[in-house]
């Protein structure tokens, strides 16, 4: 079970958190302008890579804040956590 360093609360057990899928997918500002394919790309397509992945997490049973996490899915090492709106750290 991960020990996650919430950017707002500090280290907490994974059981307090919920994973929220891939990070840095921006909701299109003008969805009506998009073709079906473009909208489907936003709506359905997600990366599932073995290695470094950018993810959204929510401190659901804590401060309820959303934040971003960089995780190596091959060994579950958490490389970084950072707040929403912040740029991902360059590795």
């Amino acid at each position: 079970m991960f020990l996650i360093n919430c950017p707002f609360c500090g280290e907490r057990e994974q059981s307090e958190f919920k994973a929220g899928g891939e990070a840095h997918i921006v909701r299109p500002k003008q969805p009506t302008e998009l073709s079906d394919d473009e909208w489907a790309e936003y709506l359905f397509m997600r990366k599932n890579i073995k290695g470094i992945q950018f993810e959204r997490w929510n401190h659901f049973h804590g401060c309820r804040k959303w934040f971003n996490m960089v995780r190596d899915t091959s060994n579950d090492q958490i490389k970084a956590v950072y707040k929403m709106g912040e740029k991902p750290p360059v590795k």
Partner: protein, 1003 residues
């Protein structure tokens, strides 16, 4: 049996404290300090069970948690019964009752033993191959297989014991209190680390604590006396917590470990009352030191499973620790020096050793010379080729090994014995290390897997790290721990080691026999009865991956996870396949290391604490008034209120009629309530609901539908504008938490520029809904200062009011189609206001109704229930609720998805009403809807989502989803049931009062 099996030399056994216990209905005696295994051995009992597949007699093989054979049932037919318990781990207590498993009628005469004679036709994969065809016969086969299989019986009644969970946070966790674990714990604690030391045994010190050998000494003291002083010292350290009888079950990532602490299993039953039996420790350690030791390997030869064949190290432990001789005429069979330590322990007590069979041609160690000096015959370069004796070994035959060790040569010699100790070297106990994600490497010289890559802040020391000599263990422990803990002072000045053993070994995974392999039974996995022959067969049949061979032969799949034989299985595979040992890797060791009880896993979450219940503030009234409850999410909701032995149908019919004829009252407190404030609150609602909110006047209510981004209906409810920048949103009972989460997600991640604040206030208010033609009269009696006229308080509006000085919010909204009011009041007053309403409604037959009636009433009006009439594939258009989707709004969650090529299909499933040809016939919810039953296969058009008998319409009504249903009004369809076909007509989903006359009636 003989009396001379017990030797008065052990300080671990209290011979003044005699303990009686029962095994297979016979009473025996042991001493405090014994395990069930040591006590049975002291009574000359070796045969304790039958094997799983062939029902061969099996005896105690080991002295610890790795035991594959001696698994027994404790307290059969009692509430405390427990199957698959290892006799080697049970500490005896007065009143212990144990029995053999997997044998009928008795362990001495077992009918299943016939499988042993049938074994030529029971090869690996036999069950897979034979019992699969024809498929219809499986049920018959299964009955017999299950009956003759059966490892133990599960309890039939509730567990009387108490269990609990504990969280532990420490700087350093040391697993295993053998010599290296003790040293590590001392160095850690003395250097200021908050340390926890755990060991699965009842005592500290591991196998060194009973090692009095002259051939392994530390600072010129026996290891046992040196270690005793160390233990004495660390037990006084403040920084160190020590837990014995505590077995680490799982080692997860980020140094999160689960351990089971056994607190009462060693006590007589009458001393266990009101005590916690077992504790699940959830340990989060900054650093982990694994010192789990190693497990002695057996040797693989023909008939290597008879009772009386034990690991050599177990024989040593039984005599040194428990003072019990496993036999009176012993033979030791080895490929390394360990067996000579056992020999010395036996020699010291004058116990006869008939011979030592050693695979090695050359033996050159002080300890072996000492054994030879005692006139013990050592057969060098020999192997055991067969054993004899049905219920207990009585003879072995041995032959000389060829130079390459692949065949046997020369004459066969027979030797008598009643106990055979085997030693095939040692396997590091790397189970926990690999569970944590650690990677192993293979060490060619002595054919062991040892830790290589550590995935977290942890280290393995001692023999689980592949250090087998005392000198290596002590020196490497000092060196590694200093580095690992980054400490200067090792706490040890000088340590001088004297050792008379050397590490030479002649490793042969499968020992040769004079018989062909097909005629041998060399067991690799004792518990699952898989032999070397089975593994070779699997390879012949094309299996190559170790994971596949494991599953095909079931090697390593018992409750012991093959702690003894897995390495041999790997060895035999690589020898047969001609590959290198390291290439195959190992099978995966999974938690738990040793089995856990269900009690430990669930802890205190039993009975009513299994899951959290949420009760409304009015709950006690419902209980007092005979309500039946249904679970909605975590809520207990009043379902219906039966009167005078009414069944559910009768109660619901009465409640529904009363609500429409006069007055009904519903506890709606469970609906989710989210308080929304901020200058952008209106804009926020515009974006999350499908309809427009900006123009909603203060004091007005509006129904809203919320979609997912994929356009599918997610939740619904009424939201009220309390002030310019203040709304209260209601959600479905089950959806409340998720809706709040979703709203927060969008606010924090997509629209952080919006000035909006959300608070869940579900529990803050009790919500009482009063409906029906007399609702106005009733509410006016309860809330006296409020003008309830349609002009001042029209449908879909809200007022602040007071009931006896207590503020409340009143909404005129309706989920039944009747004139109705919803009173929201601070939760503490909920029950008293409910009672006030009941009192005020007495003259109007005010009738409390539950969720079932609520569902019926709304179905009459064609109102959907999200989650019942929708299933995450329904758009508002599919629900024929186009009216609620704003065409003007530029965007809202899910809008773009409403005109994807898929969502605009005309033949999607759409919500319709269904009327049965026979108005008395009520459809089953979930039933399939078809048009043509002659077509094959029948095309399923949809299914029934809601169905009731309406007492107000005096006919059966139903809602359902049907492909293209929107354009099928009036069309006849069929509901095929098991024994009849029901004719239905597609109808408008609004069955009652489509014009809203009841809602707007002048009352």
């Amino acid at each position: 049996m003989t009396n001379n099996l017990r030797f008065k030399t052990s300080k671990f056994i209290d011979e003044t404290y005699r303990v009686s216990f029962k095994f297979n209905n016979k009473t025996y005696f042991g001493f405090k300090g014994d395990t069930l295994a040591s006590a049975l051995l002291a009574n000359g009992v070796h045969l304790v069970g039958r094997s799983f597949k062939y029902h061969r007699p099996r005896g105690i093989m080991t002295s610890g948690s790795e035991e594959p054979n001696a698994i027994i049932q404790l307290h059969d037919n009692s509430s405390r019964t427990e199957p698959n318990v290892r006799a080697t781990e049970v500490e005896i207590y007065e009143g212990l009752v144990a029995s053999s498993q997997n044998c009928w009628p008795s362990v001495n005469f077992d009918i299943g033993g016939i499988n042993n004679l049938l074994s030529p036709i029971l090869p690996a994969g036999f069950y897979y191959k034979t019992f699969m065809w024809p498929p219809s016969f499986w049920k018959k086969y299964e009955y017999f297989i299950r009956k003759s299989a059966g490892l133990g019986k599960s309890p039939k009644v509730a567990d009387p014991d108490i269990y609990e969970h504990n969280y532990i946070h420490c700087d350093v966790l040391v697993i295993g209190a053998g010599i290296s674990g003790i040293m590590a714990a001392k160095m850690s604690a003395k250097n200021g680390y908050k340390t926890l030391l755990v060991d699965e045994k009842s005592y500290l010190g591991g196998s060194s604590i009973y090692d009095n050998s002259e051939f392994s000494k530390i600072n010129n003291q026996t290891t046992s006396s040196w270690l005793e002083k160390e233990i004495n010292e660390i037990s006084k350290l403040e920084n160190l917590e020590i837990k014995t009888r505590t077995s680490v079950a799982a080692f997860h990532g980020y140094n999160f470990l689960l351990a089971r602490e056994n607190l009462t299993d060693h006590l007589p039953i009458n001393q266990r009352e009101k005590k916690v039996r077992q504790r699940l420790l959830k340990i989060r350690a900054k650093k982990v030191i694994t010192a789990t030791g190693s497990i002695e390997r057996p040797l693989i030869f023909d008939n290597n499973d008879r009772p009386g064949i034990l690991l050599s190290s177990a024989i040593k432990k039984y005599i040194d620790l428990y003072g019990v001789a496993c036999g009176e005429n012993n033979v030791l069979f080895t490929n390394n020096d360990s067996a000579y330590e056992t020999a010395m322990s036996l020699i010291q007590r004058g116990i006869k050793i008939n011979a030592i069979i050693d695979n090695r041609e050359q033996i050159d160690s002080k300890i072996s010379y000492e054994v030879e000096k005692n006139n013990i015959k050592i057969y060098k370069g020999y192997t055991v080729v067969d054993t004899y004796g049905y219920r207990r070994i009585n003879k072995i035959s041995i032959m000389k090994l060829s130079k390459d060790g692949q065949t046997v040569i020369g004459d066969k010699t027979k030797l008598n014995c009643d106990c055979l100790g085997v030693s095939g070297g040692w396997t590091p106990a790397v189970h926990l290390f690999t569970q944590s994600g650690g990677k192993l490497k293979f060490r060619e010289e002595d054919q062991v897997f040892i830790p290589d890559f550590y995935p977290s802040d942890q280290i393995s020391i001692g023999s689980c790290n592949g250090d087998f000599s005392l000198e290596e263990i002590v020196k490497n422990t000092l060196y590694s721990i200093k580095k690992f803990l980054n400490v200067e002072n090792s706490e040890y000045k000088t340590i001088e080691i004297i050792s008379g053993l050397n590490l030479s070994k002649r490793n042969i995974w499968l020992l040769p026999s004079d018989k062909s392999i097909g005629k041998t039974k060399s067991f690799v996995d004792y518990q699952n009865d898989s032999t070397s022959k089975d593994i070779k067969l699997a390879l012949r049949e094309g299996f190559r991956s170790i994971e596949h061979v494991k599953r095909y032969t079931t090697t390593g799949m018992g409750t012991d996870q093959g702690k003894l034989g897995n390495m041999h299985a790997l060895g035999i595979i690589s020898e047969t396949a001609g590959t290198k040992m390291g290439e195959h890797g190992t099978t995966t060791f999974r938690p738990p290391y040793t089995p856990l009880t269900f009690g430990t896993i669930v802890g205190r979450n039993v009975g009513e604490f299994f899951d959290i219940f949420r009760r409304t503030p009015i709950h006690d009234w419902h209980v007092a008034n005979n309500a039946k409850f249904e679970n909605v999410g975590q809520w207990k909701r009043a379902w219906y209120y039966p009167k005078n032995n009414e069944n559910m149908h009768q109660a619901v019919q009465r409640e529904s009629k009363a609500a429409r004829d006069s007055a009904g009252i519903l506890d709606a407190s469970t609906l989710g309530k989210i308080d929304i404030q901020g200058t952008d609150a209106s804009e926020f609602l515009n974006r999350v609901y499908t309809n427009a909110w900006s123009k909603l006047a203060v004091g007005k209510c509006r129904y809203g539908l919320m979609l997912n981004e994929d356009g599918m209906v997610y939740d619904d409810g009424v939201t009220t504008r309390l002030g310019e920048n203040h709304y209260i949103m209601t959600t479905t009972t089950g959806g409340a938490a998720n809706v709040l989460g979703k709203l927060e997600d969008y606010l924090q991640t997509e629209w952080p520029e919006l000035n909006v604040y959300l608070s869940s206030v579900t529990d803050h208010y009790a919500t009482i809904s009063v409906c029906g033609p007399n609702s106005k009269k009733i509410v006016s009696k309860v809330i006296t200062d409020l003008d309830l006229s349609d002009e001042k308080f029209p449908h879909m509006s809200f007022k602040n009011a007071k009931i006896d000085n207590i503020k409340c919010r009143v909404m005129r909204i309706s989920f039944t189609g009747e004139h109705s009011y919803e009173i929201n009041i601070q939760a503490n007053y909920g029950k008293s206001v409910w009672e006030k309403c009941m009192e005020a409604g007495k003259d109007f037959n005010i009738t409390p109704y539950g969720t079932e009636t609520m569902h019926l009433l709304r179905a009459e009006k064609g109102f959907i229930i999200v989650g019942q009439d929708t299933d995450a594939t329904m758009t508002p258009i599919d629900l024929q609720m186009d009216w609620i989707v704003s065409k003007k709004k530029y965007d809202f969650i899910g809008k773009r998805s409403l005109y994807r090529s898929d969502t605009i299909r005309e033949d999607r499933k759409q919500l319709v009403g269904l009327l049965t040809e026979n108005p008395e016939e009520v459809l089953e919810e979930g039933a399939q809807i078809v048009a043509d039953i002659k077509k094959s296969p029948i095309e399923m058009l949809g299914h029934v989502t809601s169905s009731y008998y309406s007492p107000n319409l005096k006919k059966s009504i139903a809602l359902g989803v049907v492909k293209g249903g929107k354009n099928m009004f009036g069309q006849k369809l069929i509901i095929p049931m098991e024994n009849k076909n029901i004719n239905v007509t597609v109808a408008d989903p609004v069955f009652l009062d489509k014009e809203g006359e009841r809602l707007n009636a002048k009352l």
